[in-house]
Chain length 258, copies 2
């Protein structure tokens, strides 16, 4: 049986936190044909609100340390402010959005990351995504808008990386749909030359990736993003795209295919 198309779009904090870029994103996302899911971050807003509340943001390797106070902040900001602003904006575009955290309908179950070299605090590593439940909602033309929060089933909300949420959600939906996973960020794609915005690598496979990492073309935060991408492809996702938030048509940016 031919599977229908589904697009999972992950947008970072910066894009959803400014009125004008949010409006652009909502228009671009609304224009995507077929079934879709939006996953958002919100780190910048969380940092700002935390600062105003006198709560210090501590980061290790670009990851947030989530103590009890910070967990309250991300629960408010990701689950409330950012999520509901996007949902209301999509409703105005005629998209029947439903804001979800992992705890809603037990959609994403996780466990608290054990403290090893770094104690990240209330951070959850994903165990299961309820793909069947999401599929049922999606087939009713409901568009899940997912905040980067999960839960452990014991009453604890946990902070979870939005790229991970997007990747795991795309994988959980791969049995039901022909899934394209789009990671939006502030560049046009993976660049061959960091100083040249137009040096986008159009397609990349695992052999290319290995080579680019070895020769230093690809470095930093792009490495885990691409590792996530190949992992998603191996788990049944059809296509991963790394692109600008304004170019989420599935054809622009850097493309990774099965």
């Amino acid at each position: 049986m031919m599977k229908e198309k589904l697009t999972v779009v992950k947008v970072g904090g910066g894009i959803v936190e400014e009125e004008s870029s949010l409006r652009q994103l909502l228009a671009a996302f609304s224009a995507i044909d077929g079934y879709k899911v939006l996953v958002h971050g919100g780190g910048r807003s969380a940092t700002k609100i935390a600062e105003r509340l006198g709560i210090e943001s501590r980061m290790v390797n670009g990851r947030r340390i989530t103590d009890a106070d910070m967990l309250n902040v991300v629960t408010m900001v990701y689950g409330g402010l950012v999520n509901k602003s996007i949902v209301a904006g999509l409703q105005a575009c005629g998209v029947n959005a439903l804001g979800l955290t992992g705890t809603d309908m037990d959609v994403i179950r996780s466990h608290k990351r054990p403290a090893k070299d770094v104690d990240y605090g209330f951070v959850g590593d994903v165990d299961t995504v309820n793909g069947k439940l999401l599929e049922e909602l999606i087939r009713k033309d409901i568009v899940p808008v997912m905040a980067p929060l999960t839960h452990d089933g014991k009453g604890h909300i946990l902070n979870t990386n939005a790229d991970t949420i997007a990747g795991e959600t795309a994988k959980a939906l791969a049995p039901y749909f022909n899934v394209t996973l789009i990671f939006c960020f502030e560049k046009k794609g993976v660049l061959r030359d960091a100083d040249d915005e137009n040096s986008v690598i159009g397609h990349i496979d695992e052999a290319d990736f290995k080579r680019y990492v070895e020769d230093g073309t690809i470095q930093g935060g792009m490495i885990p993003k691409l590792e996530n991408s190949f992992d998603a492809i191996r788990a049944g996702v059809d296509k991963v795209v790394i692109t600008l938030a304004t170019a989420i048509d599935g054809r622009s940016g850097t493309i990774i295919e099965k």
Copy 2:
């Protein structure tokens, strides 16, 4: 056809904002047989967070003035912190909770209250509750947990009184279920003597109510609460109960019946 039982419980801010009273409420709510919906407030938390953010809470006649900054606060606190804490807590009790604001799946549409004597700001008066959609979720054993936020369908979130959300939701579900609406507050019920906790009026009808208002037995915030209650009964709700959050078995407190 015999309709199945559904209980809509409305809890105020104070109850959900303290760990111990929240735990008691979750246990009592989990113990309710049959289909159910929880509607919560969160005003005290919103006031506290607003204060920490340097945003002034302004109230007129016990109602909050919601300017743009305060709208962000209530969106965070009601839609994020309070809602998701309850949902995670219910999941731990084996209740398959789904946190909703009115904008999620367009569940509750409202319009901004026109500024007359008082400009309440971003406050929404309810136009429609999608009872059919809620019914479908509820029949799948999903338990909606509703924050007091609605939307106008044009991208604006609006702050809406939680008692109103509870009343309108109960009315919208009355065609599908035999609905009991429970308003929790800090007293055992409507009291005959404000100084005597045990002077609960067991049953009240509209004629009693009128008499009690005239002779001053019932006054203040209890008047709109009871007006809401009679309004719900007239609109098809079977039973309204006004009681303590720890006594939501549908038999304690002040009862209003068809």
